[in-house]
């Protein structure tokens, strides 16, 4: 029988929501309870199914169908909306809790008025080339591609490329990571009765070469995770021996 408190801690561990003390408490509990270790492993494998299931592609015509339905409604909408300047003022008011937005908006507004002297700046379109770039970048939430032993990961604001060389007693891992936001790279190794965590903070573009020693006779598993803004965005089991 597994204590419910530890089932909750296992779940929180997967979400990166445990404090250091809670993680230690969980590790101690797992080291002394085989049933709990089995449950933890099975839960990890079950959650891994989401990693293995790719995002499906919507029907190719869906985007056009949406835009075409919107075209039909344009007239109705334009008659019921307030004017551009009024809408801009209303948005500025709504953004009062975010000074950075407000300052950016005011700066842009002043510059636009000076440059175009009351022209149609507020309703001008976006540069078509930029629009295409954005569309290309935006066509996915998360994109994982695997070629041989190399994996490429694309996520808004983050891109990574890594490969693994599992060479008997040594696991070599090469990672190139580029991230606009602060990210955390985490390696969690579980062995029979113990576990260890290697964690690194990251921002900008960098590459990492890591080597993990592994005893081929001891069952172990090393899981690689990337967190961004406290959110787990990628996880992969790098090796699994005897589990």
């Amino acid at each position: 029988m597994i204590n419910q408190k530890y089932i909750d801690l296992m779940n929180q561990e997967f979400d990166g929501a445990n404090s250091a003390e809670q993680s230690r408490d969980l590790e101690d509990y797992l080291s002394g309870h085989e049933e709990a270790r089995t449950y933890y492993r099975e839960l990890a494998l079950a959650l891994n199914v989401f990693e293995k299931v790719a995002m499906l592609n919507p029907p190719p015509e869906l985007g056009d169908e949406i835009l075409s339905r919107l075209e039909d409604r344009t007239g109705t909408r334009s008659n019921t909306r307030s004017g551009g300047m009024l809408a801009a003022c209303r948005n500025l008011f709504r953004l009062r809790l975010q000074p950075a937005y407000a300052y950016t908006f005011i700066g842009g507004l002043v510059l636009g008025l000076v440059l175009f002297a009351g022209s149609t700046w507020l309703t001008s379109g976006i540069d078509p080339e930029l629009s295409e770039q954005v569309r290309g970048m935006a066509s996915h939430q998360q994109w994982v591609m695997e070629y041989g032993n190399e994996t490429t990961l694309t996520y808004p604001g983050i891109s990574a490329r890594y490969h693994i060389l599992n060479d008997g007693p040594v696991l070599r891992f090469h990672l190139e990571l580029s991230s606009d936001l602060p990210a955390v790279i985490r390696f969690h190794t579980e062995r029979n009765t113990s576990s260890s965590v290697v964690e690194m903070s990251h921002q900008g573009a960098d590459s990492y070469d890591l080597t993990f020693s592994q005893d081929v006779d001891i069952p172990s598993r090393t899981t690689f995770m990337i967190y961004s803004e406290g959110r787990l965005i990628h996880t992969e089991i790098l090796n699994e021996k005897g589990k």
């Binding site: 869906l62 985007g63 787990l232």
Partner: protein, 179 residues
């Protein structure tokens, strides 16, 4: 530098329709996938995706840019999904609609292999458990944002998520996925 969702939403509120086109391109795929995992039907998922964007378009004036756009859009999607499930419950016994959209060959393979395990496990869950686990593990949202989208306390989200994971594990064991 790509525009943020909030910037695109403001541009659209100010009359720039291209901005909305970009939001559709950005969120069409995750919205469709969320809907598909909830209703397990390609056509229904496409309908939900269309309706969610149409609603978002119609209600864009009510969107507050200090709020996350995708949370707002997912909230609309969750409501549309629930509406469709309720409509289908009433209709399904009497009508059969031939499918208008079919998955691509590569997606068909996906649905027949790994996706089958996942979908069967999701089907064994209650609606409340399914939506939470889909938002958490498919869209990778944190507890706080799921709570926001579903109008639930974070504590309830965690409790539903943990019980959904328990069902997932049990169903995958039953299907022999972990052998």
């Amino acid at each position: 530098m790509a525009n943020t969702d909030a910037q695109l939403a403001i541009q659209f509120q100010n009359g720039d329709r291209k901005a909305f086109t970009m939001l559709v391109a950005r969120y069409e795929k995750p919205i469709f996938n969320t809907a598909y995992r909830m209703v397990k039907n390609f056509d229904d998922a496409a309908d939900i995706t269309q309706n969610a964007f149409i609603k978002a378009y119609e209600k864009i004036d009510t969107f507050n840019p200090s709020y996350k756009f995708f949370n707002w859009l997912y909230k609309i999607t969750v409501n549309e999904t629930l509406n469709l499930i309720n409509r289908r419950k009433r209709r399904r016994e009497f009508e059969y609609d031939p499918p208008a959209h079919l998955p691509s060959p590569e997606d068909d393979l996906e649905l027949n292999e790994m996706g089958h395990y996942l979908q069967s496990a999701l089907n064994a869950m209650s609606y409340d458990q399914r939506i939470v686990i889909v938002l958490k593990h498919l869209l990778l949202l944190p507890y706080s944002e799921i709570a926001d989208i579903l109008d639930l306390p974070e504590k309830t989200v965690k409790s539903r998520l943990f019980s959904a994971r328990h069902v997932l594990r049990k169903e995958l064991l039953k299907q022999g996925y972990m052998r």
